[in-house]
């Protein structure tokens, strides 16, 4: 067996395909996971190129498909891509801010075979929501679209990114979701990559804030269960308050395949920030990208691990944590994720926690995600 064939035998299929169809977005959320220099990348794949990616991914075994961005609704060919995806047999998820959506589109996507629309909110009230989103009309539009999604018979998933400026709203957020009839509520604490890393000090909740929020969510879970409610609360707690790292993406190149707007294929949507060369779907097949490319094989297995991961008996559980976080916090993506208290760099996590206890920055001091600010990051 050649080396490539041997590695192919050990690597499972990419069951999850994330199609980031564009970086364009009408909102300016300061925790956006897109790269800081997104404005540099303005060449988007064509409809035909996306169709080819969808076909190749499905043939390899991808079953879950996310249309994401940016705001995927700005792509005029989205209905065509949805119809193709459904025809291929994907479970098709649209991950949207709701801006640019209307009732006719909600219906026509349904007819095209879209399975699920996830609408994101920034807060439980219009003032805070619109301040975070950098848009005056966002909240009303989101409410209307959440109702339209429900009326059209889709399962409803509402997503709230949680940070120090809205973490006190847990009760109100859950009330709002109950009123809207949500099936799933994602209370996703900021993950500090992209714009969120840039704004970390102004976003990260304190330990005290987090403790209150966790207590409130747990109490509501119990009430919901006692009432026999099917609404599920998914609280993603910030790994900065853990002592063991997350099993990021369930392992590098193990289940997830992201294709960025320009066709760059990535093992996760943040990996673009790493000093690794990633392949492009314009240059090679998705199969050779997934199984054979140096980028995707870079952190598979554990032979790349330095200490303390190398000799750690938990390395099969968390894979050393997140490569992007290791890179952002230590300058070397090979290192253990500093979230781990065995990491020699864990003090950087502790320093961030201390800073969160004393942070005073208001929302207006954050760097908002827009093309003007993005250009600052590659023009220097």
């Amino acid at each position: 067996m050649s080396q490539a064939q041997e590695s192919r035998a050990q690597v499972g299929p990419p069951l999850w395909l994330l199609a980031e169809v564009t970086y364009r977005c009408p909102l300016q959320c300061p925790y956006c996971s897109n790269p800081l220099d997104f404005a540099q990348s303005d060449q988007e794949l064509s409809t035909e190129q996306w169709v080819s990616v969808l076909r190749q991914g499905r043939a390899m075994g991808a079953a879950q498909l996310g249309f994401s961005g940016g705001e995927p609704l700005v792509r005029q060919d989205l209905p065509e891509l949805i119809a193709e995806a459904r025809l291929l047999g994907y479970y098709t998820n649209l991950i949207t801010s709701g801006i640019g959506l209307n009732e006719a589109k909600v219906e026509s996507f349904r007819e095209a075979g879209l399975d699920h629309i996830q609408v994101s909110f920034q807060a439980s009230d219009p003032e805070l929501n619109n301040a975070v989103a950098g848009s005056r009309k966002a909240f009303e539009q989101k409410l209307a679209m959440a109702r339209a999604v429900k009326d059209a018979g889709y399962p409803m998933v509402l997503n709230f990114v949680i940070h120090r400026h809205n973490i006190h709203q847990m009760e109100d957020i859950i009330d709002l979701c109950e009123r809207l009839g949500a099936d799933y509520v994602e209370l996703a604490t900021c993950q500090y990559y992209g714009w969120a890393f840039k704004n970390r000090e102004g976003l990260m909740p304190s330990a005290a804030q987090l403790e209150v929020a966790e207590r409130e969510v747990n109490a509501r879970r119990q009430t919901l269960a006692e009432a026999g409610s099917a609404m599920k609360l998914i609280f993603v707690t910030p790994d900065y308050y853990e002592v063991r790292p997350k099993a990021c993406m369930n392992g590098w190149g193990s289940l997830f395949l992201t294709v960025a707007p320009d066709g760059t294929a990535l093992p996760c949507h943040s990996a673009r920030l790493l000093p690794i060369e990633f392949p492009n779907v314009k240059d090679q097949s998705l199969k050779s990208i997934w199984y054979d490319s140096p980028g995707f094989n870079h952190y598979r297995g554990d032979s790349w691990m330095p200490e303390p991961c190398r000799s750690c008996d938990e390395k099969d559980r968390d894979f050393g944590g997140c490569r992007c976080q290791a890179y952002l916090l230590t300058g070397d993506a090979d290192n253990a994720d500093p979230v781990c208290d065995k990491s020699p760099h864990h003090d950087r996590i502790l320093a961030a926690r201390r800073a969160a206890d004393h942070a005073t920055a208001g929302l207006e001091e954050l760097t908002y995600r827009n093309a003007r600010n993005s250009r600052l990051f590659f023009r220097g």
């Binding site: 299929p13 069951l15 079953a63 879950q64 996310g66 479970y91 998820n93 699920h116 996830q118």
Partner: protein, 87 residues
């Protein structure tokens, strides 16, 4: 036994050749099903009662004997996980 199970809206049951298994797909999630779970869910169509599903499965798998207990246990579990609803 006269209740009619149906998949919760947004849930889809389908065969995945690459995984060589049936799966249950739902918003941003997927469960790979074992053979008995697949056999039961393949009979859940929103029209048949639990009794009818049991009867059809007993006809499909005569060597398995009485299946009522297993089917009810699975459907009860699936309902608690909110995969299916009883109508």
């Amino acid at each position: 036994m006269n209740q009619i199970p149906k998949l919760r809206p947004g849930f889809r049951f389908q065969w995945e050749p690459v995984q060589n298994a049936h799966v249950l797909l739902y918003p941003e999630g997927m469960v790979k099903l074992n053979e008995s779970a697949s056999a039961i869910l393949s009979e859940v169509n929103g029209e048949s009662t639990v009794a009818e599903i049991v009867e059809r499965l007993e006809n499909r798998f005569p060597e398995a004997g009485a299946l009522e207990g297993d089917v009810c246990e699975f459907l009860d579990d699936a309902r608690q996980q909110h995969w299916i609803m009883m109508v």
